[in-house]
């Protein structure tokens, strides 16, 4: 039984973290009222004029709104699908390898891009995809015409999704690999005795063994359909590809901090926060219910 004294110690331990959360998470939440104001930085929150839902009405009347929502959803969905399947296939291949040293080396290499920033990787990608970059050199070898990948509305999303896969697939494999190690090895032995070949063991044991993890990850990813990757897109896009690459977060940044439309940007941001919160709560609820998953 814990004494009263140690419970007070627990409260004391939590104090710094809670105070920091209040200062930097809770206090900004009150700034949400700007979404309902014609906010003037010189007047501040207390003296700016209240305009009700005007910012929201304006937001829905903008011709760009539909485009931005569409871009956000389509980029996020493509990333979710690719982000579930590529690591899955990679983990299956990886599982078939017996050599521990080889496994370690591969793991170390494929996890690495996860730890590099989008700033650095954009630097790398811009040079890779430039007109005389290595990709265009190869295209020309095979007799093709060079492509302006980052200035083309046709290619931009493809670049965004595939570079995201490149950065994260290794790291995202970790959870599949963990699930694979928990499959009972007796199953493989029994199957081998029954004469199942390698492919049959894959389809009858390994893949079914991973299905719960796949469903869990798919469910949890639903909460992210409004997050298409702010840092990545901010560092790779340019006005030519706004049409195919502008997402909610980049729009809020541009209209808010660069064009100083605080009220509008806060309204857009608020709508996104609320919808995301509901989606995440719902996806965790689903995960808890169907996959017995708890984050704490």
């Amino acid at each position: 039984m814990r004494s009263r004294a140690s419970i007070w110690n627990y409260h004391l331990m939590l104090l710094p973290g809670i105070l920091l959360l209040i200062a930097f998470s809770v206090v900004p939440m009150f700034g949400i009222v700007i979404a309902f104001q014609d906010f003037q930085p010189t007047l501040g929150i207390f003296h700016s004029e209240w305009v009700g839902w005007e910012n929201f009405e304006y937001m829905f009347s903008l011709p760009d709104s539909r485009l931005i929502l569409g871009n956000t959803l389509s980029i996020a969905l493509m990333k979710i699908i690719a982000g579930l399947t590529v690591p899955f296939v990679f983990a299956l291949l990886f599982h078939e390898v017996a050599n521990i040293k080889f496994k370690r080396t591969i793991q170390t290499i494929v996890y690495l891009p996860h730890f590099m920033s989008w700033v650095i990787l954009s630097g790398v990608l811009i040079n890779l995809l430039s007109l005389d970059g290595i990709i265009n050199q190869m295209i020309q070898w095979f007799g093709g015409d060079p492509v302006m990948f980052l200035q083309s509305n046709h290619w931009f999303r493809f670049v965004i999704v595939s570079s995201d896969v490149w950065k994260e697939f290794g790291f995202n494999t970790i959870i599949y690999i963990a699930a694979l190690t928990s499959i009972n090895t007796n199953l493989y032995e029994a199957a081998a005795i029954d004469g199942a070949n390698r492919f049959q063991r894959l389809t009858n044991i390994t893949i079914p063994g991973l299905m719960t993890t796949v469903i869990l990850l798919a469910t949890l990813s639903l909460g992210n359909v409004l997050n298409a990757g702010f840092e990545q897109i901010l560092n790779l896009y340019n006005p030519i590809v706004y049409e195919s690459g502008d997402i909610i977060d980049t729009y809020v940044y541009r209209s808010g901090l660069l064009e100083i439309q605080y009220g509008l940007a806060t309204a857009v941001g608020l709508l996104k926060s609320v919808v995301s919160f509901v989606l995440i709560a719902a996806s965790y609820g689903l995960a808890a219910r169907f996959a017995n998953y708890r984050i704490f």
Binding site: R2, H11, P28, I106, W118, N127, L128, S273
Partner: protein
């Protein structure tokens, strides 16, 4: 696991994995090769994975660039300060939160509060204005305090702490150890791999962050390295904005592609240095923290 005699399949699988691993590194290797190449070779796209016309001009130029080093210094300061604060806050929060509600009444209220702060936020503009109101703009504290509570790390460590055998804590309690002593003498030593994992995450997070530096630091000398590089590479106008004639002369003498490649490489060095040491911990750290039975 039983191996069949399917050697061909093995060879195919090993080859595919080798190719994938190579492709994961190829873009970085290409940039590395360019950074060591001659200007003409780099600009005309002759460089693949080996430097052409090897020279160190780009790196010499980076070394003579004072603002690069100023930013490097800001980043180092940020990582040391921010990493230490993150670690302290993570440990102090994870330990009480790992107790059951029975042992620590009020635990669930704290937990819901923390989760709520993780999932919901006021958005960019209110966040920016709050930090502005606190008068933190252009201060190193603007880079370390808003991210001082890494909620994800707290949850990882909390889940790890939950798995620590209760007997250890009871034995410590018998010997008269209070909550603080138990945390320091039992929990911290036993969870070094997990602490290494959360430290890696927060250090990498601080090193890689550029956006807060970009909007919260008005003066160039306060930019962390990633913000500096971001402005250099990404902003099309960055060269045009330079008014220093020496700077313009130096930039025109040097292929900016080459220079950027060298700067990208130098800014990767710290990650490359700590990654191999901490990498062996984080896989088990994540799995232990994320998957519970």
């Amino acid at each position: 696991m039983i191996r069949g005699t399917s050697r061909t399949v093995d060879i195919v699988i090993y080859s595919i994995l080798t190719v994938i691993a190579f492709l994961s590194l190829a873009p970085v290797l290409n940039t590395l090769a360019i950074s060591f190449s001659g200007k003409v070779a780099a600009m005309s796209g002759q460089v693949f994975f080996w430097p052409v016309d090897f020279n160190l001009e780009a790196y010499k130029s980076v070394i003579s660039d004072r603002s690069f080093f100023t930013s490097f210094g800001v980043s180092v300061q940020r990582v040391l300060l921010g990493g230490a604060i993150n670690l302290l806050v993570t440990v102090l929060m994870a330990y009480p939160l790992s107790k059951s509600n029975k042992h620590f009444p009020g635990r669930n209220i704290y937990m819901w509060f923390v989760i709520f702060c993780m999932l919901f936020n006021g958005g960019l503009i209110p966040w920016y204005m709050t930090i502005n109101t606190y008068g933190l703009l252009d201060s190193i504290w603007a880079l370390v305090l808003p991210t001082a509570v890494p909620v994800f790390n707290v949850i990882l460590l909390m889940n790890f702490f939950k798995g620590v055998p209760k007997e250890l804590e009871e034995a410590a309690g018998m010997d008269g150890a209070g909550a603080w002593r138990t945390l320091v003498t039992i929990y911290i030593p036993i969870s070094l791999p997990s602490l290494a994992t959360v430290t890696l995450f927060s250090v990498v997070g601080h090193w890689n962050a550029f956006f807060d530096g970009m909007i919260l630091m008005n003066h160039k000398e306060n930019w962390p390295l990633q913000t500096y590089i971001q402005q250099l590479i990404i902003s099309v106008n960055s060269i045009m904005n330079t008014t220093d004639p020496e700077e313009i002369k130096r930039l025109s003498n040097m292929s900016s592609q080459l220079l950027n490649a060298a700067k990208v490489m130098v800014s990767m060095i710290p990650i490359m240095l700590i990654y191999p040491f901490l990498q062996r911990y984080f896989v088990s750290g994540i799995v232990l923290g994320a998957v519970k039975e």
